[in-house]
């Protein structure tokens, strides 16, 4: 499991994250701001989420460190 967070205040609704990882991200139909569908997606989603972190123009998406009790 990985942990993902978004800072919606700075999202410009570019849609990159949804194109890259549609199982994890969606956009609000109203203002196109990112909606996190899954805060803790399975490990298999890591490459796509990393790519979304890299390609989000507004640096909105973060991959959080594993909680200490799980490391």
């Amino acid at each position: 499991m990985i942990r993902v967070a978004t800072d919606r205040d700075r999202c410009i609704g570019s849609g990159m994250c949804v194109l890259i990882a549609p199982a994890v991200f969606d956009q609000d139909p109203d203002d196109a701001v990112v909606v996190l569908l899954d805060e803790s997606p399975p490990e298999t989603a890591r490459p796509a989420v990393e790519q979304a972190v890299d390609r989000c123009p507004a640096a909105v998406i973060r991959l959080l460190p594993e909680p200490a009790d799980r490391v």
Partner: protein, 399 residues
């Protein structure tokens, strides 16, 4: 002591840019200070990490002076020639505008609705081209015709008014246009759009403008007529020439890089990666301008509040930090987090639309016109010299 000049694209010397000087600048330990064509002095950032850092931090690096004020004479004065232009806003005011754009231009469901429109316009253009005499002027009759039709259809501008956006874009993108010249050239498009806003307020349709009006109506601060005019004007002006030039320039690159066109024709499904690679390889040769809002540093180089910074986007995209062989053009590569559509809060509003257009057109040409060839050798192509949107002025082709 006078500073070195900002190295600018010179397609006769380096047809697919950037100028050779950037290879050394990119790896130099320090930033260089340069003089830009409009006379302002700026720090030049030409490596991937540096370009990404500057574009990604709108708090420290503002677009207030205008994104191309380093090359556009019209932006030299203290007042912007584009009144109320959101491109020169930062922070929450800018985000508010972007959030009114996004549902119309970058929401996947909305984009899925656009795909059939782009396909239809493209198919008709290919059919028209195949029925035309050869050599055929590809840039004006094909690339520009397609991208103009797409954006004009989206906003609902009828064919007899589309010359307005061509005239406005020519003035805005030409480096030598004066501030007054630009205001005068934009006036007819702005006047027409004000009228169109009033019409759509009274009788909404299914176009982008009507949807923006409807969408913002229930928000805390509905878009004003001036804002709607600005936003739709920006889409119309920025929407056709950039993409058309990328198509025409892109075809020159595809047909002049050994094996690339053949690869695309053998596997037209490569069109999406080819389109992305073209934007990485050819995008924003002219660079983008920012201004520091506070005393700060880039790569350890102190930058004072008020200093100008030019980011050499195309050079950044050729950095080995992005790809070990970044100087090679390869339609099969996944270009990754390139900066060809910019980065940060001002990253291209229309990038998803541009992707759909480029991919659809490249695919259609690869499938229907695999024998496409350029009728002049590379060194005889006439390049646009006085424009910030680079590429051939015209391209005679045959098939």
């Amino acid at each position: 002591m006078s500073l070195p000049a900002l190295p600018l694209p010179d397609e006769d010397r380096q047809p697919f840019g950037p100028p050779p000087e950037y290879a050394a600048l990119r790896t130099a330990p320090r930033l260089t200070r340069v003089t830009c064509p409009t006379g302002l002095d700026a720090w030049l950032v030409s490596d991937y990490a540096g370009v990404r850092e500057v574009l990604g931090d709108g708090r420290r690096f503002s677009t207030r002076p205008g994104q191309a004020a380093h090359v556009l004479a019209a932006f030299r004065g203290p007042d912007s020639p584009v009144e109320g232009g959101f491109s020169q806003l930062d922070g929450p005011e800018h985000i508010r505008i972007r959030r009114n754009f996004a549902p119309q231009v970058s929401n996947p469901r909305r984009l899925a609705e656009l795909q059939p429109l782009v396909e239809q316009i493209t198919d008709e253009a290919v059919t028209r081209m195949l029925g035309s005499p050869q050599p055929f002027p590809l840039h004006s009759q094909f690339s520009t015709a397609i991208t103009t039709a797409v954006i004009a259809e989206l906003i609902g501008v009828p064919p007899d008014r589309r010359h307005l956006l061509h005239e406005a874009a020519t003035a805005l993108f030409t480096t030598s246009t004066t501030p007054d010249g630009l205001r005068r050239a934009l006036e007819p498009l702005w006047a027409y759009l004000y009228e169109l806003v009033a019409t759509r307020r009274a009788r909404p349709g299914d176009d982008v403008l009507s949807r923006m009006i409807e969408h913002s109506a229930d928000s805390e601060r509905p878009l004003t007529d001036a804002e709607l005019t600005q936003m739709n004007g920006a889409l119309l002006i920025a929407g056709f020439d950039t993409t058309a030039s990328m198509l025409t320039y892109g075809l020159v690159c595809l047909l002049n890089t050994p094996g690339q066109w053949a690869k695309l024709c053998a596997r037209p499904e490569l069109a999406a990666s080819a389109a992305e690679e073209l934007v990485r390889y050819l995008g924003v040769g002219i660079g983008l301008l920012r201004q520091a809002t506070e005393d700060t540093a880039i790569h350890g180089q102190p930058i004072r509040a008020g200093d100008y910074v030019v980011v050499a986007v195309q050079s950044g995209n050729r950095d080995t930090a992005l790809h070990p062989d970044a100087d090679r053009f390869d339609v099969t590569r996944r270009p990754g987090a390139h900066l060809g559509f910019g980065h940060g809060a001002h990253a291209c509003v229309g990038q998803q639309i541009a992707r759909i257009e480029l991919t659809t057109v490249l695919r259609a040409l690869a499938e229907r016109v695999p024998t496409l060839r350029i009728e002049v050798p590379l060194h005889e192509i006439e390049w646009k010299r006085d424009s910030v949107v680079r590429g051939p002025a015209e391209l005679p082709v045959a098939w």
